[in-house]
């Protein structure tokens, strides 16, 4: 069975910024279709971990193994640059907190979604447009907005556009950095609903970084709590959130406002 080997296998991952710790000795396995939430307060090392996992930062130590489409586990930092960039724009996705980092703001919505297709060799305008249109529909962006630029979009729409842009090449693994940050609650709720639907439909594996425990509860299967650069507690989401073991996790859970 293929599903028994993890898609992503992380061991002893460490990143120092000089003498300071970014993240230290992080390890986990992620399987296909699984959503892992990384939670913790600001400065706990969540974003560093995500940057290292997505190869934007070199680790100081440890390894990140990924199961390529041919079924072989490869160390992503040992890949050649061409191979790694191909992986990043086909088999992986990255949803930024600030959509303007993940989108080309001066290119139309259709062009933003189509870019990855053109990057992997699509050269038929009609097909690119149809495919991009399909994805815009799936993220609930009306087709008459297809030729508008993301600048003219609201925050929630930009975030949905960013998701479409990432998913158009059918990646198997998506990293998300606070995808709902900075959005108002009703927009957040719709976005979460959308992400949950897409993740289930496409069987995506997701590593999502968030400080919002509600997001983690809604989306993730497993949760990893970080503090000061290290993982202090891991487990199934409901288990960790309903019955936190570590004092810090207990504090985190009890800090959530109940309405």
């Amino acid at each position: 069975m293929v599903a028994e080997t993890p898609l992503l296998s992380v061991a002893g991952l460490t990143r120092y910024y000089g003498a300071r710790v970014g993240c230290e000795n992080v390890g986990f396995d992620l399987y296909e279709g699984e959503v892992l939430a990384v939670v913790g307060e600001s400065g706990s090392g969540k974003s560093t971990l995500l940057s290292v996992l997505s190869t934007q930062l070199e680790p100081t130590g440890g390894s990140v193994q990924y199961r390529m489409r041919d079924g072989k586990m490869r160390d992503v930092f040992a890949l050649g640059e061409a191979e790694r960039r191909l992986l990043l724009r086909t088999d992986w996705g990255f949803v930024h907190q600030d959509a303007s980092h993940g989108l080309r703001m001066s290119v139309s919505a259709g062009g933003n979604v189509g870019e990855r297709l053109m990057a992997v060799g699509w050269r038929h305008y009609g097909n690119i447009r149809t495919e991009a249109g399909d994805w815009l529909k799936r993220v609930e962006i009306a087709l008459d907005r297809m030729d508008d630029k993301p600048r003219q979009f609201s925050g929630g729409m930009r975030q949905r556009l960013q998701i479409a842009r990432n998913l158009v090449t059918r990646p198997r693994l998506v990293f998300m950095d606070e995808p709902t940050g900075g959005l108002d609650v009703s927009v957040q709720a719709r976005l979460l609903d959308l992400i949950r639907g897409l993740v289930a439909d496409l069987g995506l594996a997701v590593v999502i970084v968030t400080h919002d425990l509600a997001v983690a509860r809604l989306l993730s299967h497993r949760i990893m709590v970080m503090k000061g650069g290290t993982v202090i507690e891991t487990g199934l989401t409901d288990q960790v959130l309903d019955d936190p073991r570590e004092p810090y996790t207990q504090l985190l859970v009890s800090s959530v406002l109940q309405v």
Partner: protein, 297 residues
């Protein structure tokens, strides 16, 4: 004359530029950095082209300089004079006689031959610049042959205008490898770069880049399968020499919407008129028509 070294630049500088040119010819379409010098003209007036010309010019060369196809406009006249003064080489306006042709954008209509060198003045050598502002990133994209972004630009054109609306600086792929900006040359001339017998050199002075298309090298304009590259077509012939299938300039003739379309290549137009071709707005044709009308009445 004795105050200048031959062709203005000192010999060491010329050697440096020649090395860059040789490298550019060896890797068709690749932008080779070079130590661009200050020239006695502002950036944007052809400082890159002038340096390339200065580096390749020999005493036996015959130089032609055109600006948008014309031999008689400011940029062309002043660069021609510059080399007359600093190199003392023979100059010409006839394409066939020239061994080195420096051009701001057009490729002469007359077919080029082996042994001729075409030197383009380039303002922005990086074809992906307007979509990707980071030089480090565009260099990496060239190195890894990641040219999807180039098609995003064409996609945007079609989405907005219904067709590829880029009419100049139309991106091409050279020798099946590097994507190149053919300087702001009208796309009309793109097919003529393909498999051209002459050597084509491109110099960007401000951006400090030289690139080249060696003779008989494939130059393909990028396009989509369902929106193929199309050459610009004109609905009328030249008003002076009646030439068809040439690139035309629009000239406004009065303040009541009057305009005429004439050859952008002045040499080609003059040759055709000398050979007896007559366009509808040529002075003597008009005079003759007026005379006929008067006599007929």
């Amino acid at each position: 004359m004795s105050t200048y070294n031959f062709a203005y630049l000192d010999e060491q500088t010329k050697r440096m530029i020649r090395r860059a040119i040789l490298k550019a010819i060896s890797i068709p379409g690749y932008q080779v950095p070079f130590a661009s010098r200050e020239m006695p003209m502002p950036y944007g007036w052809g400082t890159g082209g002038v340096q390339v010309t200065a580096a390749i010019l020999g005493k036996q060369d015959v130089l032609k300089v055109i600006d948008q196809g014309a031999d008689d406009t400011t940029n062309a006249v002043s660069i021609r004079k510059f080399f007359e003064k600093t190199a003392g080489v023979e100059t010409t306006t006839h394409t066939a006689e020239a061994t080195v042709i420096q051009t701001r954008h057009r490729i002469p209509e007359a077919a080029l031959s082996e042994g001729q060198i075409l030197v383009f003045q380039v303002p922005i050598p990086e074809p992906m610049r307007f979509l990707e502002p980071r030089e480090t990133e565009t260099r990496r994209m060239h190195a890894l042959e990641e040219y999807g972004l180039m098609h995003v630009k064409l996609y945007e054109d079609i989405a907005r205008h219904g067709h590829i609306a880029t009419t100049y600086a139309y991106p091409v792929k050279v020798d099946g490898r590097y994507v190149m900006d053919p300087s702001p040359t009208p796309k009309f001339d793109n097919p003529r770069m393909d498999n051209c017998p002459a050597l084509q050199l491109f110099g960007a002075g401000r951006e400090k880049r030289i690139y080249a298309v060696p003779p008989y090298t494939s130059v393909k304009s990028l396009d989509f399968e369902d929106h193929p590259f199309e050459r610009t077509r004109f609905s009328r012939p030249c008003a002076l020499c009646a030439a068809e299938e040439v690139y035309l300039d629009e000239v406004v003739t009065d303040d009541r919407g009057g305009r005429m379309f004439v050859c952008s290549d002045t040499d080609n137009c003059e040759n055709r008129r000398a050979a007896g071709h007559r366009g509808e707005l040529l002075g003597e044709t008009l005079v003759k028509q007026a005379r006929d009308v008067r006599n007929g009445r």
